[in-house]
Amino acid sequence: MHEPGRMSRRKGTRVAAAVIAAGALTLTACSDDGDATPSGRESTIELPDLSGQELEVSGVWTGAERDNFIRVLDEFEALTGASVSYVPSGDNVSQFVGTKIEGGSPPDIVFVPQPGVLHEFAENGWIAPVGDSVQEQLDANFTQGWQDLASHEGTQYGVYVKAANKSLVWYSATAFEYAGVEPPETWDEFVATAWTLWESGTTPLSVAGGDGWTLTDWFENIYLSQAGPEMYDRLVAHEIPWTDPSVADALTTLGEVFGESRLLENGTEGSLQTLFPDSVTQTFIDLTAPDAGMVFEADFVGAVITDSTDAVIGEDARVFPFPAVGSESPVVSAGDAAVAVAPDGEASEAQQAMLTFLASTDAARVWAGGGGFVSPNKSLEFEAYPNDVQRGIAEALIAAGDDFRFDLSDQTPAAFGGTTGQGMWRGLQDFLRNPEDIAGAQEYLESQAAEAYGE
């Protein structure tokens, strides 16, 4: 069974990254020649001999992104002798795993995008805690923040092996040059830049209002930077209501751009019909006179650019960090955690070995080489990334240390933070449609949150 209308934000990630990897793969395929271990380095971990054992791994990736991940699995096979198969989990990981467990043949390792789903799995007793060798790798390679995201009530259940930096604004170098503006660092500069772009005849912002999740990312970045990480965490836990003045402040700030139809490509109504990939292509498809100057979203924007436009990342398409609304620029991230599915509570040697491997720098290096991937592994050298932009994104992520915050909507119940036509997605779409009504938007969000958190 698949999840139809409830499009998780992962999808955006996936499509995009799936396409990029296609390009990246053709490059790496050549360099693989005659290289027994793709990394060409000594292994940093010891793995048991698993000859004859079979492992099934499930993740959300399909297409080229899946091919890229399979290279990582191939490395594991080469190191241990185990035979690993990959099964796409479909969009709704929770339901996929539930169905498989009921059917009696769950996959051994599953990638879970949302921390909320990981908690749900842990509470259901579907997944097993990590073993010592995994913890060793975690301590060596991951900050406490990334570890905590994959733990439940103090027990470590998984490893966040893949990350996405969601605090990036991509811009057209042509548009900026034509308007004579530089990448802004603060929110006020950002708004001024937008107006200057507008005067120059380029619509400054391309907003994918058709996909509610992009709007939640706008809000999260502003809120994190303006209200600070502590408030952010309290809002995640719904310890403060959405009617809190801090939310009003963030919406007011957001309204400075969302409230100006002139600043939005295709206007307010047009933005509400714009889907994520289109928001990217309309910014970068025309290199001499772009329709829009800037588009906000995570690193996977690069994938769409590579696939659907002729723009060269780093030259035509460039990136600046989300501007600081408060004192600090926000770093909002997302990611995928690997967990061992074990309804009987005990993970097998092979499962532990796979998690150990995935938590190791070796795995991250192979994965990074394929493109379309950013690792939260702090031990991974930045040279492993195939291009400067990818490297820059990874550097920003690692530099943030534990000062990053995980995607807010991914941490809330799915009914609130991840469902088309309701909760945060709908609330912020309504806000984009009618940015004057901040109080109304807050009340809607609070009522939806109250329902979703079961209060």
Partner: protein, 307 residues
């Protein structure tokens, strides 16, 4: 009102006039048409034909354009710029294991369920037409009543049933589901057809000492050829083109083509370079059948449209 009416008027389903039928009789209405409009009618028909063809032509043309062209201009650009045409979308699709394996899954679902429906349907239809047993008419009426039951009614219960049988999300489950929902129509269509077989033929065979099975395989099945062909084609198309049942019951790891494409859709807009060739490939077999077996196709679709 629906199916029974049609078969009552047209006892042999294969006789439903196909588009390829002979020259139609001259009627007043048509005379009106030609008098009133003359050559105008021809022009209107040509325009209509173009309107009907254009959407498909658009898909076809788009499937040969790379993603950049698709994102920036309309498919009609290829009419003036042939250089845009490329095989690369098809190349990518053929090399995409997910997609190629979905073709096999489609076949693995469609062929068995078509055979199963024809075989099981013919057996039951024969019994309803020529065998005498208690409750025969009542039982047949029940089958006819089931003709119009929407598949939606069965989604939740059958999902539970399959789950407990361990065939949820398997190709086998999809085959069984399609077979069950193909049966009422199969039984109904074939029974009416078999009933028209001249009684003398059966009696003669009977006198020669043939048993039920022999009678069925040697006399009834061969005579039922046209109806069976129409049924097989209809069932094949129905299953091949199905998305809803496959969406719920097929193995998410190796879905049939329709679901594989649907999974590609998620965020539309920029991936027509995958969808257009994919959709076109799914259309190939139905279109081939359509053009090769127009008569059987039309009669099958006509008779089965009530489903």
């Amino acid at each position: 009102m629906t199916a029974p009416t049609k078969t009552a008027q047209l006892p042999n389903p294969a006789d439903v006039p196909a588009p390829a039928g002979g020259p139609p009789p001259r009627s007043l209405v048509s005379r009106l048409a030609s008098l009133a409009a003359g050559g105008g009618v021809r022009v209107i028909l040509v325009v209509l034909a173009v309107v009907w063809l254009l959407p498909t032509a658009g898909l076809f043309a788009s499937s040969f354009r790379d993603s950049r062209d698709i994102a920036s201009t309309g498919w009609w650009e290829v009419l003036t710029d042939f250089d845009q045409l490329t095989w690369q979308n098809y190349d990518a699709l053929i090399n995409n294991d997910n997609f190629t394996s979905s073709i096999w899954t489609s076949v693995a679902i469609t062929v068995p369920s078509t055979i199963a429906v024809v075989v099981l349907g013919a057996l039951a239809a024969y019994a309803f037409a020529w065998l005498d047993f208690p409750g025969r008419d009542w039982c047949f009426l029940l089958v006819v009543a089931l003709l119009v039951v929407p598949v939606q009614v069965a989604l939740i219960p059958v999902a539970r049933l399959f789950n407990s049988l361990g065939i949820f999300e398997t190709t086998l489950g999809v085959v069984i589901f399609h077979t069950a929902f193909g049966l009422p129509f199969a039984v109904f269509l074939l029974r009416n057809f078999f009933a028209e077989i001249p009684r003398e033929l059966l009696e003669a065979a009977r006198l020669d000492g043939a048993g039920e099975l022999r009678l069925f395989t040697r006399v009834v099945l061969p005579l039922g050829g046209p109806a069976i062909a129409a049924l097989a084609i209809f069932q094949f198309m129905w299953v091949w083109n199905d998305m809803l049942v496959a969406l719920i019951f097929s193995d998410s790891g190796s879905p049939p083509m329709t679901v594989a494409l649907q999974q590609e859709m998620r965020q539309f807009g920029s991936n027509f370079d995958v969808l257009a060739p994919g959709a076109f490939l799914t259309m190939l077999i139905p279109l081939a059948i359509f053009f090769a077996f127009q008569r059987q196709f039309v009669s099958g679709v006509m008779a089965g449209a009530v489903k």
